[in-house]
Amino acid sequence: MVQSNKIENNLTMMKKLLIFSVVMFVFGYAMVPFYEKFCEVAGINNLLQPDKLVKKMEIDTDRWVTVELDANTRGLPWDFKPLQRSIKFHPGEPVEVMYEITNHSDREITGQAIPSYSPRFLDKHLRKFECFCFTRQVLKPKETKVMPVQFVIEPSLPEYLHTLTISYTFFELPVGAKAVSEK
């Protein structure tokens, strides 16, 4: 009698622990949206969301910054380049630059651009209102597109910085994959 009671107790315990393990497995997956949400709220890693337009930003006319534009593709037959090498302007002044992509292949390709900044902390002082990286880009065979990036460098940029780099890399999205910007 005691024995069968014991076995029952053990099985109940095993069930609880198994359920707990499954919950922890799901928790691992739950960390993915939690991480994304956390980054969004904390403003970390916020590369692919438009920033809010600030109407009145003070323009620091006392100094100039030069932003060098860089463009790369990774593993897809596209030609991707900025229409100007660099742009010089005052912090706080909204600017627009243009990029051009051409699909050289005979198939329709979907790509997603991922930005990268130098220095690394530039995202703290950069506000982007419009960017081709906010959505996926679909290019028909031999199609060419010209796309804008609108941004402003905030006057909070440290004084010692004069030259900055904004770089984009296009990656091919597998068919059916969701772009980050659409998640």
């Binding site: 053990n10 928790f27 691992g28 993915v32 890693n45 991922i114 597998p174 059916g176």
Partner: protein, 532 residues
């Protein structure tokens, strides 16, 4: 070695059991399974050790002599994986299988059939890991932490590693469920939780950590797998995933994992020190609470592995302070062990030597851990040999030394024969000297800036690397002595004394004959609590 015959495992046979190999395949006896775990982990220890010696041989001199860089990377990766998942963890599970039922007065583990299954998954996983060296593209080479993008890119070897980790995870979870149920439901009548030997306590907490984090690891490798083959983009930047996310999830598992490998070590040492000091453990309840606090804290410090991955200062500070806080309960433990020895009538047999060696060297590893926890220093020493030195001080002279201590301590109970004390002492002193020769100099290498996971290095690191390699070969060879001692002990004809350690107070020494019979505590013992 060729002289080993079938009768090696000849402790207390049973009449109605299959014999030969089928006995081991079908056994549900906790002692058989414990022995298999221990032999398996010993074999894996030498496999991982072979890889380590390959690494050290390559690093003996600057330049590429023995291993091509790709193969070198596979060696470091598989050395880590095999030692963590194949040697240290199964060895502790082996101790749990043998000792938990004996120490709480239970007849066997709660789920004997599942116990068999959790063991027999291990050789499958191990052969996947080892055979991945021979597939096109070679074994995984992205480090034992298998960070993407390397792990989302590698070849078949990476898939085999992922599958192996899945299997090992399943085995660990089943083992942990078994241990928790055994401890909570099957204690001898009258044994309250706070009467349990500390080894049982540490394993209870460890088993909870296992069911807490092993499923998360399983989830992580599943995400890697679907990223590699099924078009998801959890970690793939091209598809909008984030490799840093992997590091967060991995270390959410990975940091508790390091305590999974050290808490049972604390337990073993907490059994041995009182025995050989012939005094009850000082501060029993504070030991229990310290173990629990370490386990809880271990779940909120993971990002100290990622200080250079890009993190807000607030985050760095949080993880820095929470990490340093772990030094407090750990300090309580070291204090208690020292206080247990204080004015004890100590003798220094091999288990005690390894236990004291453990305390001494583990504290060095603990201190270098506190140093690594300091953000500005960590940014300097991240991915250098300083970190290698740190975690080998806690894993080799920590976990491994405690395993040796425990093996010598319980060998007479398991086999019924005494090990060779002189050789045991030789084993200790050789291990002690060569261990420090290998790893102490790596602190200097790391501070001087030598990065980890490289097959070649700048000339100024040559001398210390040579010393370290000599130490590593010496340490590796000394472990052959351990195998010899164990086999000699198992095959010995002389019976061990009923109670070789007069300070021992736990049930397996006071209530069971030596060697422990194949079936023990079929009737629960009468347990009288000792005041701690």
């Amino acid at each position: 070695m060729a002289a080993i015959h079938g009768d090696v495992h000849g402790h207390g046979h049973d009449d109605h059991h299959p014999t030969g190999i089928m006995r081991w395949i079908t056994t549900t006896n906790h002692k058989d399974i414990g022995s298999m775990y221990l032999w398996f982990s010993l074999a894996m220890f030498f496999t991982g050790g072979f890889l380590a010696l390959g690494i050290r041989a390559e690093l003996f001199q600057p330049g590429i002599q023995i291993l091509e860089p790709e193969l070198f990377n596979s060696f470091t990766t598989l050395h880590g994986l095999i030692m963590v998942f194949g040697a240290i963890m199964p060895a502790f599970v082996g101790f749990a299988n043998w000792q938990v039922p004996l120490m709480i007065g239970a007849p066997d583990m709660a789920f004997a059939r599942m116990n068999n299954w959790s063991f027999w998954l291990l050789p499958v996983a191990a052969s996947l890991l080892v055979s991945s060296f021979f597939v096109p593209g070679g074994a995984a080479a992205g480090g034992w932490t298998f960070y993407p993008p390397l792990s989302t890119q590698g070849g078949l070897g990476v898939d085999m590693m992922i599958f192996a980790v899945h299997i090992l995870g399943a085995s660990s979870i089943m083992g942990a469920i078994n241990i928790i149920t055994t401890i909570l439901n099957m204690r001898a009548p009258g044994m309250k939780l706070m009467d349990m030997p500390l080894f049982v306590w540490t394993w209870l907490i460890t088993a909870y950590l296992l069911v807490l984090v092993m499923p998360v690891l399983a989830g992580t490798v599943t995400m890697l797998l679907t990223d590699r083959h099924f078009g998801t983009s959890f970690f793939n930047a091209a598809g909008g995933g984030d490799p840093v996310l992997f590091q967060h999830i991995f270390w959410f598992f990975g940091h508790p994992e390091v305590y999974i490998m050290i808490l049972p070590a604390f337990g073993i040492v907490s059994e041995i020190i009182p025995t050989f000091a012939r005094k009850p453990l000082f501060g029993y309840s504070s030991m229990v609470y310290a173990t629990a606090s370490i386990a809880i804290l271990s779940c909120v410090v993971w990002a100290h592995h990622m200080f250079t991955a890009g993190m807000p200062t607030v985050g760095q500070l949080f993880f820095m302070y929470s990490t340093m806080l772990i030094a407090v309960p750990t300090g309580v433990k070291v204090f208690n062990w020292t206080a247990t020895m204080w004015r004890g009538s100590m003798t220094f047999e091999t288990p005690m030597l390894f236990a004291i060696g453990f305390i001494f060297l583990f504290v060095i590893g603990g201190f270098s851990g506190v140093i690594c926890a300091i953000v500005p220093i960590d940014i300097q020493v991240q991915d250098t040999y300083y970190v290698i030195a740190h975690f080998h001080y806690v894993l080799v002279s920590g976990a491994l030394f405690s395993l040796f201590a425990g093996a010598y301590y319980w060998l007479p109970k398991w086999t019924g024969h005494m090990y060779d004390e002189t050789l045991g002492k030789w084993h200790f002193w050789l291990s002690m000297i060569f261990f420090n020769l290998t790893f102490f100099v790596q602190h200097f290498l790391g501070l001087a800036g030598m990065p980890r996971r490289i097959p070649d290095y700048a000339l100024q690191f040559a001398d210390f690397n040579m010393i370290s390699s000599i130490g590593a070969f010496g340490f590796g060879m000394s472990q052959l002595l351990f195998v010899y001692i164990v086999i000699k002990c198992v095959r010995s004809k002389e019976a061990a004394p009923e109670k070789p350690w007069d300070g021992a107070t736990t049930l397996e020494w006071t209530h069971l004959p030596t060697p422990a019979p194949y079936h023990s505590f079929e009737k629960p013992p009468v347990f009288k609590p000792v005041s701690h």
